[in-house]
Amino acid sequence: MKPSGIDLHHLAGVYALNALDADELALFEAHLHGCELCQREVVEFCETAGLLALATAQPIPQRLRNFVDAVPGKCGLPRWASMSASQLFRRVLGSLEGTQQEFDSVAEETEQPRHA
């Protein structure tokens, strides 16, 4: 039996704790998209969960620290990754004499899904 709309309103808590099964997760996220009340609750519960996470903080192992130090170099973030669409457009227009490759790489970056 699928949960009714009223039931869905009560899933914000378990959603924020990543404690939903896949079937209910899909239902709730569809609901969440259009429900400001649940959006607000989810954010608040995620903030609370963040504090639960803080309570378990542990010193970072050296290997992890070394890895993180190298992250920007390994998956470089081009400066234009944070540009607006219009900035990007101007940049691409401005470099028309440049290589097609740059255009392609810009296009590829901007076509990435908003969230992984």
């Binding site: 924020a16 704790l17 989810v42 963040g50 639960l52 903080a57 050296q62 992890l64 620290r65």
Partner: protein, 200 residues
Amino acid sequence: MLKRNTGAKGHADIGAGALADQLAPVMTRCGQGDEGAFVRIYDELGSLVYGIILKVLRDPAQSEEVAQEVFTEVWRQAPRYEPGKGSVKGWIATIAHRRAVDRVRSEQSARNREDRDAVERHVDLTSAVEDLVGDELERQRVRVALQTLTEVQRKAVELAYYGGYTYREVAVLLDEPEGTVKTRIRDGLIRLRDEIGVSS
């Protein structure tokens, strides 16, 4: 790759608490490719990220792997972070916890799950415990707040969040109806939220 839509969590307006987030401008610079800002983020939140992953996975080696994924995701997603719509801490904790439960629910991890007690014994630590002192007051507040929950609320919240179980699994573990567990988790979170506040 990930089915969960963290965007939904990050895009509701949370109000003044998030606006006061001192890390928000740092994350903005991080999104502009500022490596120094990224270092600051993980100096501030690295122990939180590693700690919650280790709490869920209980395996130091796997936890390091997952933490690497988290920081890589944070760097890549940084341009998409929107200040004022959830704190940096809440945003990153959500990513870290979600990655941890994804891992723990995978087949391989499920097999290892019965054997997770080695966690307290891991030794590859170079940072002194004193590094954590800055957050100690806040952590203490969380522990105190957890004690204000009823026993059944606390168990349900802890099994779900720290144990990485779905609420249906929690219901089986506690031998309670699913609806009851769902309500206890919700009531427990509301209680915690009101005890601690959601400001960062």
